[in-house]
């Protein structure tokens, strides 16, 4: 349980952090809350030569609103999101997702940015971020860019972040009219990770038809994905129970499904349909309330 020796760096500004990340390249590893990296280092499965601790960059801890968009700094902890009154009012999907993550210790130290950059295939945030059509900000020595959520998750623990880039913020577009959202999850009882996790945001028109619907699914495939096949079946149509049942049968269409000792691929596929349906039903109920 003792990691191999490494050099510890604690940059005091984003500028300094970017310089270190560029300088160490492959030999360096960024750390935010450390809840995924440190266990791997203690087991000596990960042995970075340089650990760049981003924990002192308080400029990356914030939740604020401007022009209807909400922006969250990458180092904001799960607990800060869970307890934010701004988010509870304007984007309840995020506090609802935060509550489901790990345990109290993880939520107190783990960060939104760290979890997204790590891109664990069973992490909770990716499903919510996809459902919200969020954008992710990456800073590098050369400047900054925003990456839309759908382009961000590339593969198993692989993101669109380039070497030398630091994930610094996430921003969320304004709520649609008559909106409803929900995050539902089946927890792996030992790890707390999602066997299946589903985030949904939808917007209804005057007739009560789905004017917008976005579904994010985590835990099922190599990476979190949008349930596009289900969305297509529902868009612009009255959400009858029968239509929901038929559409959600396609929740894992075209996805290579994970399997492990806890849940087979077939079982996960089934769970995806059930949880997508339940999350849609809950979001509809909230939109109509």
């Amino acid at each position: 349980m003792i990691p191999e020796s490494f050099e510890y760096h604690s940059p005091q500004s984003l500028e300094e952090a970017l310089r270190l990340v560029t300088e160490f390249g492959e030999e360096g590893k960024m750390m935010a809350g450390g809840h995924s990296l440190l266990p791997m280092m203690k087991l000596r499965l990960a042995s970075p030569r340089h650990v760049i601790d981003l924990g002192r960059l308080n400029e990356l801890r914030y939740i604020r609103e401007s022009d209807g968009w909400i922006e969250i700094g990458a180092l904001t902890t799960h607990f800060q999101i869970e307890s934010s009154s701004l988010l509870r009012e304007k984007c309840p999907l995020l506090p609802e997702t935060a509550r489901e993550i790990g345990d109290a210790q993880v939520r107190n130290l783990g960060t939104l940015g760290g979890s997204l950059a790590h891109a664990d295939p069973a992490a909770d945030w990716p499903a919510a971020i996809l459902a919200l059509d969020a954008e992710i900000k990456a800073n590098s020595a050369g400047g900054e860019r925003w990456i839309v959520a759908q382009d961000f998750f590339v593969g198993l623990m692989t993101t669109a972040l380039a070497p030398g880039e630091i994930l610094t913020a996430v921003r969320l577009p304004p709520l649609p009219r008559r909106a409803g959202d929900a995050y539902l999850k089946l927890r792996q009882p030992a790890s707390g990770f999602a066997v299946v996790g589903v985030g949904v945001r939808l917007g209804l028109n005057e007739a009560g038809h789905m004017e917008r619907v976005a579904i994010g699914v985590t835990g099922v495939g190599l990476k979190a994905y949008r349930g596009a096949a289900v969305e297509r079946e529902l868009l612009g149509k009255p959400p009858t129970a029968r239509r929901l049942a038929e559409a959600t049968a396609r929740a894992a269409d075209g996805v290579q499904t994970n399997s492990d000792l806890f849940a087979s691929a077939e079982y996960r596929k089934h769970l995806a349909s059930v949880y997508v349906r339940r999350a849609l039903e809950l979001a509809l109920e909230r939109a109509n309330a």
């Binding site: 000596r44 042995s47 790590h118 198993l156 790890s191 492990d260």
Partner: protein, 160 residues
């Protein structure tokens, strides 16, 4: 753990088979391959640097081709170990001519043990899938382009 699947490749069966038996094109397609040395007995000594996210390790091992039936099928036996654990596997790879290309099907059983397996169980299948995908993506880039479309788009821009 079972690893199986199939993939359509845009080259005739004979060409695909030949490339699979060629150490140079194999070495370029295998994820993280640092060394692939043919041995006198027909097997290969391999060094692979495999990593997913922060978990990276160097693995040494042996790859054997058995029951070769060119250009239809062969069996492959692999074993390797590194600091994080060990790996043993055996499977059959078969090639079927289809739509002017080749359908390659693989099916095998892989055992992974040691620290990496005990803490990473929930991700083993996903990691194996991703590596197989990476292999075929890289491998299909090695195949000589045969379809007229690929030749056109790979060549000079059309003069108008």
């Amino acid at each position: 753990m079972k690893v199986e699947g199939s993939r359509q490749l845009a080259a005739p069966r004979e060409v695909v088979y030949r490339c699979l038996m060629d150490p140079l094109s194999l070495a370029q397609a295998l994820p993280g391959c640092e060394k692939l040395d043919p041995q006198p007995d027909g097997s290969y000594q391999a060094t692979l640097k495999i990593g997913i996210a922060s978990v990276k390790g160097t693995y040494q091992g042996r790859v054997q081709i058995l029951d070769a039936l060119p250009p239809e099928s062969f069996r492959m036996k692999i074993e390797g170990k590194g600091a994080g654990g060990f790996l043993k596997g055996e499977g059959t790879i078969s090639l079927t001519a289809q739509n002017g290309g080749t359908l390659i099907s693989y099916s095998g059983e892989v055992q992974i043990g040691g620290m990496i397996a005990s803490v990473g169980q929930r991700m083993m299948q996903a990691a194996a899938q991703q590596m197989v995908q990476q292999f075929f993506d890289a491998f299909s880039r090695q195949l000589p382009a045969v379809q007229p479309d690929a030749v056109k788009s790979g060549g000079l821009p059309p003069s108008t």
